[in-house]
Symmetry: C2
Subunit: 424 residues, 2 copies
């Protein structure tokens, strides 16, 4: 197995997962001459997840927010990239096993993130897709666009109403972004393309179990976001809990909503690889890590990003990109210091704030005591997302795409691609 | 059924197929105030098929060569677009039936094109995808990129060799374009991204049953294209016929080639809708049309584009975009004249020439007595394809994408997107 081949006596760091945490660790270690790195991911691309909803809403193409991990790491000769599924981790034998064979490590970082959770109702998944991968996003795009096509083709008012009703479950940032984008799409982009239907008749319902949306933000910003959504035609239902999802609609408490499109952003649970580490997990299946992000009993094994549950006085850290990036940097530095026999202070998260966007020109931003909303917040959101988008070329293209969309109210990537279908 | 609703006394023209022919007819009729138009397609997008191989080879994103048919026709208020499968045509009742219901017509254009043909060996399809739709292109992209990933992950020289061997069957323009693009991709783009393999060891074999590739071109241009392909590392096997395709490779006469990637561009057959018209078909299943592109006995039913077989002294017209566009224009004018009670001269194809590209800076072009090859031909190819690409915005983006690829030797859209997979 070539993957075990050691070059000289440098320690080998294996990274599982090429998201924000794993990629950052690989890049920092790639600059060092003292380690070999193997990064393993089941996808060949790193995904800029904060913009994934834009792909689902036909605003951007998949290639604009995803780049091959190999390309992102091609300048680091001591970093190897393997594509494949990891099926097991043996922390005693220090080995990772998967479709690619077995790889030995001296240090291990597990950063495989989270997936959509249906709270035990896994049969809801086929009627209510979540938004975690490019395949999810193109599937959501297909469903939303198909609903409009059906509304155009069928005259029956019941069919038409069900196809023009969109339900988004979960009032966190992703749910708010999806609801805002559908509102905007129906009001501005689709109205000129259809003859038989008026896309303005669309019903968009955002369902949140808690008492307000964006509950991690200041209440004033939640209220503002609710008003902004309502101005885009979105109904915000708080204190509402979904009790059933089927192919024709959802039940919310006593109420029945007939709809062809339910999008799920209500919860996440940890990647199942967490269980392979044989250490305590939290209720969501995330690994409860030590203050230095290692796991109990194994100072050479780290967990970072969404998969890690790090106790802080304010509760566990949120599953957002800045946490993952800072943890990725920390783990790399920790490993380099450890090789030199030095100790490192515990990980500390530097909170730069949080943001969510609502449609094409509004957002809410919270950073320390600063709170922004409306267009100025949207500008801040735009600037930060373009700035952090991996890869120079993607940045230019996304900026051009957005400028174009902004000026023309168009949606560039409105493609319905059917797979495994006869092309009659 | 709303689709039957007549607005005033204008005749209704139904167009089946939103390719080059159908879209052109819809646009020309859209300018007229004397007809209602219904365009039906099973896809929601018009595809710029001449650049489809670029999507398969990760040079362009799907959205750069495809646009929603609705958007392309949104400025014409009397043109309606329906997405759906047509299951039947009744030329006596003048009705088209499909998933959307029944639509009555006064004039009908059938322009549903052709699909890949395996000459009766339909079981080869799952091992040797053809290139006709966006789904085909992203599947080919996935297969080619996965072959490189496997070659990187496995040390076994037999597995590696099979994964680095690419077989393209059919030496027409699509086969030549695919082979050239793989040659270029391996030599320039992938070599810097892999550690364990040398992508330059790739074997690319183009198999042609006839005595030369690009047989519709002048023999001197065929010879030049062969030399250009060889300089990119492509082996051109002429007078070779594939006798078997299975999951581990292909048999070519007595020879066996072990490979994980076989791409098929050896033949086409007509869309099965042709049979619904109950008129004589040619050997490939295409409709043998009258000189005015109507079908025998039904002057109100037309067939255009790849699906039409029009006799000319030089044999049937080739299945290329310029023929489809000219026929689309002709059918629209023919219908408008017919409404006014006037007759029209037969369709005449104005041959502007033909071209094929080989890699990133070479092509062959033939127009009348003019024959070009090499870089100057490639510039002509580039100019014409950018010029005809539907939609102003796509043109700008493709030009930027290509300029970027040309300068950096990069491949922007190297994404492997798995569908229906658990995202562990």
């Amino acid at each position: 197995m070539r993957n075990n081949k050691k070059t000289g006596s440098r320690p080998t760091v294996v990274i599982i997962g090429g998201g924000f945490a794993g990629l950052k660790t690989a890049k920092v270690l790639g600059h060092s001459k003292s380690v070999d790195v193997v990064l393993i991911d089941r996808q060949n691309h790193h995904l800029f997840q904060p913009l994934l909803y834009q792909v689902a809403m036909a605003g951007l193409s998949p290639a604009e927010i995803a780049r091959p991990i190999r390309s992102l790491l091609s300048r680091y000769p001591r970093v190897r990239v393997l594509r494949g599924d990891v099926t097991g981790v043996d922390t005693d034998a220090k080995t990772v096993v998967g479709g690619f064979g077995a790889v030995s490590y001296d240090y291990l970082l597990v950063a495989t993130g989270v997936r959509t959770s249906y709270f035990g109702n896994d049969d809801w998944e086929k009627h209510a897709p979540g938004l975690k991968s490019l395949a999810d996003a193109t599937e959501i795009r297909r469903q939303v666009l198909l609903a409009f096509e059906r509304a155009e083709a069928f005259d029956d008012p019941v069919i038409r109403k069900a196809n023009l009703t969109f339900v988004i479950v979960g009032g966190g940032p992703t749910g708010v972004e999806l609801a805002g984008a559908i509102g905007e799409m129906t009001r501005f982009c689709l109205s000129r393309d259809f003859r038989a239907i008026d896309p303005k008749l669309t019903r968009i319902i955002l369902i949140e179990a808690g008492s307000r949306i964006l509950k991690m933000f200041d209440p004033a910003l939640s209220a503002r976001a609710t008003r902004d959504l309502e101005s885009l035609g979105v109904q915000v239902w708080t204190d509402s809990r979904v009790s059933a999802v089927d192919e024709h609609g959802v039940n919310v408490g006593e109420e029945r909503i007939e709809t062809q499109t339910v999008l799920w952003s209500a919860g996440v649970r940890a990647s199942p690889l967490a269980e392979a580490l044989c250490v305590p997990l939290d209720r969501m299946g995330r690994v409860i890590v030590e203050p230095d992000l290692s796991i109990p009993g194994h100072p050479e094994v780290f967990v970072a990003g969404d998969l890690a549950h790090l106790h802080t006085p304010e509760g566990p850290l949120p599953g957002i990109a800045p946490v993952a990036v800072q943890q990725g940097t920390y783990v790399a530095q920790k490993i380099l210091e450890s090789i030199k026999g030095r100790s490192t202070p515990p990980f500390v998260y530097r909170d730069k704030g949080q943001m969510a966007t609502i449609g094409r020109s509004r957002a809410v931003v919270e950073s320390g005591r600063m709170r922004l909303s409306g267009f100025i917040a949207w500008c801040a959101w735009l600037f930060i997302h373009i700035y952090y988008l991996s890869g120079f070329k993607n940045r230019i293209f996304v900026l051009l795409q957005w400028t174009w969309s902004y000026v023309t109210f168009g949606r560039g990537a409105r493609l319905i691609v059917d797979h495994n279908e006869d092309d009659a």
